[in-house]
């Protein structure tokens, strides 16, 4: 510490001598570089002022008393800035710590989502889920049951960030405690609702759409708990229709019935499930209309399911200048054969 002080003193003295002699921009540039070094060595503003005065006193003998005294005032003022600077450093350290905790939590959260790809002859599946911050309030799932049915789910916890993420994990755990043999969509939502209703804050709720595709009978059976409607694409008619089902959001009332609907899928038809982070995207300060989203899907429908969801995410991310306001989840399931 003492050594650094001496070497800093010498450095500063050389700089000041050179500047007083030449008044060159070069010396000033030197000073600017020096300031970085000072900050690296944790030198406070008041120490810098004091350094300046002592060097100056050595270089210019017989400084007027007023000049020397005026530094007392400057020093006093600089103490305040020094404290603010140190507080800033400590807050920055704390922010780093919080950030690293969040990173760990975000990794844990990722492990709650399915990671393996499903490659099947019967369907083409694509999904993208991007949190607005580090942690997500969106949940999605895809899985195969023992009869070969492909179950897909998208759920959305209100709000975002850590509080939403904590509730999102509840959905995952509740799904895991369901009987091995997959329930039909209505019963599945009813049992999730019982768990959510008992465990969620009174101002919160979760929306969810769950369905499964039967690869031999070629139908898709689904139910919704107040979730943003999806879409179904009919290849023959080349048309999109809303995929809606009535049902109350999860967590409001313990006894809710969810009535499943069934639609048939022909080869090339596909189902789109999404979270409201998709429809709440704002382009030029206006919410995108569902019709606009349909146009985007239409534009990419010749691609694979995974390519479609990625392209749409990229387009919307760009249109919003890379600022996501809400967690974004988009899933497409297309009948292949």
């Amino acid at each position: 510490m003492e050594e650094t002080k001496i070497s800093m003193y010498q450095l500063y003295k050389d700089m000041l001598t050179s500047y007083l002699k030449n008044k060159s921009e070069h010396a000033l540039y030197h000073a600017q570089q020096f300031s970085k070094e000072m900050m690296e060595k944790d030198m406070s503003p008041e120490e810098t002022v004091s350094l300046h005065l002592s060097v100056f006193q050595e270089l210019a003998e017989d400084l007027p008393e007023e000049v020397v005294d005026s530094f007392d005032l400057l020093l006093e003022v600089m103490i305040g800035y020094g404290l603010a600077y140190r507080e800033h450093q400590s807050l920055r350290d704390r922010q780093r710590q919080i950030e690293s905790e969040l990173n760990v939590a975000a990794r844990m959260q990722k492990s709650l989502l399915p990671n393996g790809e499903i490659s099947l002859d019967s369907v083409d599946l694509g999904v993208i889920s991007v949190p607005a911050g580090k942690m997500s309030g969106d949940y999605y799932d895809y899985s195969l049951d023992e009869h070969g049915n492909i179950g897909v789910a998208v759920a959305d916890v209100i709000g975002k960030g850590v509080p939403a993420a904590m509730s999102m994990s509840m959905i995952k755990y509740a799904m895991d405690t369901l009987p091995e043999q997959r329930l039909e969509p209505g019963a599945l939502l009813e049992s999730l609702n019982r768990v959510v209703e008992r465990n969620i804050d009174s101002d919160m709720f979760i929306t969810m759409m769950y369905g499964f595709y039967h690869p031999e009978e070629h139908y898709f059976s689904y139910a919704s708990a107040g979730h943003e409607p999806g879409f179904v694409y009919n290849l023959e008619k080349d048309s999109f229709e809303s995929l809606e089902a009535k049902g109350l959001v999860l967590g409001v009332s313990p006894k809710v019935r969810y009535k499943p609907d069934v639609i048939n899928l022909n080869v090339g038809d596909f189902i789109v499930l999404l979270s409201d982070g998709v429809t709440e995207c704002r382009v030029d300060e206006e919410f995108i209309e569902r019709e606009q989203l349909v146009q985007m899907i239409r534009k990419y429908k010749h691609l694979s399911a995974q390519e479609i969801v990625e392209q749409i995410y990229q387009d919307l991310e760009k249109a919003q200048e890379f600022q996501l306001r809400d967690d974004f989840t988009l899933l497409i399931l297309r009948r292949k054969v």
């Binding site: 009174s202 709720f205 009535k246 409001v252």
Partner: protein, 110 residues
């Protein structure tokens, strides 16, 4: 992005007139106003949404919390003056089945 709330109280009901946006920024203010109103015994609560253009999901949560409170105190909660977009939100979430919603003809746009 502001929310104005005016409350008028009569003997058997409280009416809260909202104007602005009910979103993540204004939700706590709305909760602070509605919760004590919903807790008053023997007074039904009417929330007039005529001046509300937009409700986000956090805002929707406040109405659910208020509904649960009125159920505990035995009061009823009624919403009036919903515009097309807001009414659609209550329909999608199924909340129109559990909250009394009065259709306001003035806001029906042909």
């Amino acid at each position: 992005m502001n929310l104005e709330i005016n409350v008028t109280e009569t003997d058997n009901q409280n009416v809260a007139y909202l104007s602005g946006e009910v979103d993540v920024y204004t939700a706590s203010k709305l909760k602070e106003t509605l919760t004590p109103l919903a807790e008053q015994s023997d007074k039904n609560l009417i929330v007039d949404l005529s001046g509300v253009d937009y409700i986000d999901s956090t805002g929707l949560g406040i109405f659910i919390g208020t509904l649960k409170t009125t159920e505990k105190t035995g009061n009823t909660l009624m919403l009036t003056g919903l515009n097309e977009r807001v009414r659609r939100l209550f329909e999608i979430t199924g909340l129109n089945e559990v909250i009394d919603i009065e259709v306001d003809n003035k806001r029906e746009e042909a």
